[in-house]
């Protein structure tokens, strides 16, 4: 019977210990550090003038609200623009600039620019990664004749580098935003 006494004592001690260990504090919120809520593409005319902003903003991240797409104006036919891309995480205050992280891990990232056939646009990369392959947080955009269509910016994580475009880049899509663009 001695066994039982020892065992029961152990058992209740364990239970007592276990039931005391719970704490009633409310949990702390998690601020998602990696979420990209906002992508802003700034197109500055080479000769100077008003920059055109293309923005995709989704403040609830993966939540039910769709991103808000805004295009600040039309592009001018036969012009050249310097493009820069800024990625923000606006769930944090102040907003975190994710572009810096992408530029830091430049060999693991690449932006791609695609446009629908009807839109007379050509693009070229202006910045490159440490291996000399395109990165694309900066680029050059040239417009042709007046037209309209869509312009899509895609960021791929861990793509095959070098590649010939989205078709053989592989990797995972980190961002994808499509803008309706008019050239006048």
């Amino acid at each position: 019977m001695k066994h039982f006494r020892i065992l029961s004592a152990t058992l209740f001690a364990t239970l007592l210990f276990a039931s005391c260990s719970s704490d009633d504090d409310t949990p702390e919120p998690v601020n998602e550090e990696e979420v990209i809520t906002t992508m802003t593409v700034t197109l500055t005319p080479e000769g100077g003038g008003t920059a055109i902003l293309l923005q995709s903003r989704d403040l609830d991240g993966d939540g039910p609200n769709a991103p808000t797409i805004t295009v600040s104006g039309s592009l001018t036919a036969g012009s050249s623009y310097n493009g820069t891309i800024v990625l923000l995480n606006e769930t944090e205050t102040p907003a975190e600039n994710i572009t810096l992280e992408v530029e830091e891990e430049n060999t693991e990232h690449q932006f791609f620019y695609t446009s629908s056939g009807s839109l007379n646009i050509t693009t070229e990369y202006s910045n490159f990664d440490d291996d000399g392959n395109p990165l694309g947080t900066q680029f050059k955009l040239n417009t042709g004749d007046a037209s309209n269509g869509t312009f899509t910016v895609t960021l791929r994580h861990e793509p095959n580098k070098p590649n010939t475009g989205l078709g053989d880049a592989g990797g995972e899509t980190d961002i994808e935003a499509t803008f309706n663009v008019t050239i006048e």
Binding site: T14, V30, E33, D60, P64, T114, H157, T173
Partner: protein
């Protein structure tokens, strides 16, 4: 039914030639299965009407017997009574053995014995130790899959979740050494944290009838137990080493057991399993390796009438998830599905990168029991489990090596059970259970909690009675009630909270509002009743008919209630619902069984109607900055599953046997009038076995497995716009893959290593023809073929 017992003559004493009738007859009565002494067995000498009972060590003694032949009747409350004829010549010693069968039928779990039968009116499939050993290098799910009616829901080939008659996860309860596993079983990509090598046997009950364990096993109950340890002085063990070509892996598992006649025993066991990338017929499945380390310790005292048992097990597993399955959104999914080969194929390696899982499970159990005269066997059990799950995703920047998910689930359970025999024909089992569970999601992951912090309290009580109406008819009925209270702290995205109208429905549970999140404190109550009733009728020479009805009620799990956000491993957004009620299943099972020497079979049709069945399926597409994602929402519906399992075995020639299995299950959503998603296709296995005990117990087996195409499935395809090509393409996530046929070979042969040890050498080949195939129930089927050919060499030393 085997009604004969063996009489073993150990001593034929020719000691004295006395004509006096003053000889002594002494000896022991033991269990024929494991030589456990039988306490309280009654021996009656027919001629003299002398009667004695065996003592605690199973010993007896008769005095004043003449040199003559006597008829002795040996009986025991839990054994079949047998008559023996013996010759007394001087002082004689005899050892009697009884078939200790009835005790195993009647008394469940109380002594940690082999669980011969957990219910009386549900057909139970068991996997023996020998069969389990052949799955040494695989998982619990793989071993269970060898049973008819069991398939598996896989994430690759190392995360294998058992599917019983079409149901899985929270609907299949796993009992590991008397402890209900609480290892976050809700996730489809969470495999059971049980080491297949630590188990002595596995039993599957395809229904909720085993109410002593739980009332919410809508699908079924799997009972895994460590090997039974005999009450005798012995020291034994086994070591198994296996090496497999596919995955270039090895497994080493060892077990050592020491037991004493006075009831004390102890056993230690450990497993090391390491595999690198597995291979499909044509390519390496990159990042699919696994590294598993397990250990268990088991000790106790078994004095038949009282004793205790302590068990501890440690399970740790690192599992790689196919690298090519980590996707950014619907547009990536289209690329992956349209490609014949995985998008990422690297050279073979043992190293694991993200995505991967790192799971640790501790399980400790302490149990004491005592037989109380006039009351029955009382047992008290306390168990503790700690499950820590880390999931790593592909991340950026400083978070690269941080887990995306870090959950710790602690569970404490106390149970009191009473197993009494009111009369010879009426047995009653009752019990109470109390459980406390706490989930903690570490916020330092920097990713919103997939499962919120919660505390859960369960209280349960059950009563099961069985009544032997006549020699061949047993009836069983039981009921169980469970109360569950959940105290949850959950952060909702404000946009989701409002889109679901929760701000109107549950304004009272809001604790605080942050920028774009709301902290809530849902407090949920669930009252669940479950019941079972059935009969077991034996007829003919060896036929058996069982009919069982089980009512099971299951409270929704945290994943079903609280999911809200992107699930990276599935590239989809999963949404739960706070308003869910308990799911209630009604299952009727009929089993016709024949257990003959030459021919046996079991046919088990079933029908399972489930109200408020919780199903997750795609409902829409959601746009995010990251691209488009498929939204999978949980909803409740009226479901019905029906099907049958058929097993047959025929020894058509000496040493030859033919085994057959056929399983079919169909499931429908009766509300929406469409098939249920992810149900196993029809499958059949046929096996030809040659086994010759006289020739080193050589065993050669050739198995064919044919898996049909699943023809009934809901169409959940959707359209995605691809900017790169300016096209809208259909993402086909629902069409099941084609039927396939696999051939497997298995062989083993025994050698006597020393006088006390046996070496068994086994050679197996799975997927002999290196067939390319994809399985409908493998979540990675969209991206890669299943496993190619594998050679497996196994060395087992029993000592």
């Amino acid at each position: 039914m085997r009604t004969y017992a063996l009489l073993i003559l150990l001593c034929s004493g020719i000691v004295a030639f006395s004509q006096n009738c003053n000889n002594t007859l002494s000896g022991t009565v033991t269990d024929i299965h494991d030589n456990t002494p039988l306490v309280g067995a009654t021996l009656v000498v027919a001629q003299t009407e002398q009667a004695v009972q065996t003592d605690f060590d199973g010993k007896f003694e008769f005095k004043n017997l003449c040199n003559a032949r006597y008829s002795i009747q040996v009986s025991h409350p839990n054994c079949l009574t047998r008559g023996f004829t013996i010759t007394v010549n001087g002082n004689t010693e005899k050892h009697f053995q009884l078939e200790h069968h009835l005790e195993e039928l009647n008394q469940v779990t109380v002594e940690g014995k082999a669980h011969k039968a957990k219910t009386k009116t549900l057909y139970e499939n068991t996997i023996s130790k020998e069969k389990l050993e052949s799955y040494s290098s695989e998982t619990l799910g793989d071993a269970l899959k060898s049973l008819s009616g069991v398939s598996s829901l896989n994430t690759g080939n190392t995360v294998v979740k058992p599917l019983v008659n079409g149901l899985h996860s929270s609907r299949v309860v796993i009992i590991n050494n008397g402890v209900r596993m609480e290892d976050q079983e809700w996730g489809a990509e969470h495999a059971p944290n049980v080491d297949v090598n630590a188990m002595g046997n596995l039993t599957l009950i395809k229904g909720a009838g085993a109410l002593q364990y739980s009332g919410d096993a809508v699908g079924g109950v799997i009972v895994a137990d460590a090997a039974k340890i005999p009450i005798k002085d012995s020291l034994y063990g086994k070591t198994i080493f296996s090496a497999a070509s596919n995955g270039r892996g090895t497994v080493l598992t060892s077990q050592l057991t020491k037991s004493y006649l006075n009831g004390w025993y102890g056993s230690v066991q450990g497993t090391l399993k390491r595999f690198g990338d597995f291979e499909a017929p044509d390519y390496v499945l990159s990042n699919t390796g696994t590294f598993e380390r397990n250990a268990s310790l088991h000790f106790g005292l078994n004095k038949i009438n009282y004793g205790f048992e302590a068990y501890y097990s440690y399970f740790k597993n690192n599992i790689g998830i196919l690298r090519a399955s980590h996707l950014g959104g619907a547009q990536d999914q289209i690329r992956a599905i349209n490609s014949d080969t995985p998008l990422i194929i690297n050279d073979f390696t043992y190293a694991l990168i993200a995505p991967k899982q790192d799971v640790t499970h501790h399980l400790a159990r302490l149990k004491i029991f005592k037989k109380v005269q006039g009351l029955g066997k009382v047992s008290l059990q306390y168990d503790f489990q700690e499950n820590n799950r880390l999931e790593y995703d592909i991340r950026r920047g400083d978070d690269k090596f941080k887990p995306s998910l870090d959950l710790q689930l602690d569970t404490h359970t106390v149970m009191v059970d009473l197993d009494s025999e009111i009369s010879n024909s009426f047995g009653l089992k009752t019990g109470l259970m109390g459980r406390y569970q706490k989930n903690y999601a570490d916020p330092t992951t920097g990713v919103r909690r997939l499962i919120p912090d919660y505390e859960k309290y369960d209280v349960g009580a059950y009563l099961i009675g069985d009544y032997t109406i006549s020699d061949n008819l047993v009836a069983e009925a039981g009921a169980r009630f469970d109360y569950t209270f959940m105290d949850v702290y959950k952060f909702y995205r404000t946009s989701f909270w409002e889109s679901r109208n929760y701000d109107q429905l549950f304004p009272d549970i809001v604790v605080s509002e942050l920028d774009n999140q709301i902290l809530t404190n849902p407090q949920l109550n669930f009252y669940n009743a479950s019941a079972t009733a059935g009969i077991n009728y034996e007829f003919g020479k060896d036929y058996n008919l069982m009919l069982n009805y089980s009512l099971a009620s299951r409270a929704p799990n945290p994943s079903e209630l609280f999911s809200e956000g992107l699930h990276h491993s599935a590239a989809r957004i999963e949404l739960g619902d706070l308003r869910f009620k308990s799911e209630i299943g009604h299952k009727i099972t009929l089993s016709l069984q024949k257990e003959g020497e030459k021919f046996n079979f079991a046919l088990s049709p079933f029908i399972n109607s489930i109200s408020d069945f919780i199903v997750i399926e795609p409902t829409s597409i959601q746009q995010t900055v990251r691209g488009n994602f498929q939204v999978w929402e949980y909803r409740q519906t009226q479901a019905q599953l029906l099907g049958f399992d058929f097993d047959a075995s025929y020894a058509f020639a000496p040493n030859f046997r033919f085994n057959h299995q056929f399983s079919m299950v169909k499931g429908y959503d009766r509300t929406q009038d469409e098939p249920l998603i992810s149900l196993p296709p029809v499958d059949t296995k046929n096996e030809l076995v040659y086994q010759n005990p006289k020739l080193n117990n050589i065993r050669l087996a050739l198995e064919s497995e044919y898996v049909f195409r699943q023809n009934e499935y809901p169409n959940t395809n959707f359209n995605v716009y691809i900017p790169a090509t300016e096209t809208t393409e259909t993402l086909d996530v629902s069409t099941p893959p084609d039927a396939y046929h696999l051939l497997n070979f298995n062989s083993s042969i025994d050698f006597k290593a020393t006088t006390n040890s046996t070496l068994t050498v086994g050679l197996g080949i799975t997927n002999i023809l290196n067939t390319e195939y994809r399985n409908y129930l493998n979540r990675l089927r969209y991206y890669a073929d299943d496993l190619g050919r594998n050679f497996l060499l196994t060395l087992k030393l029993n000592y």
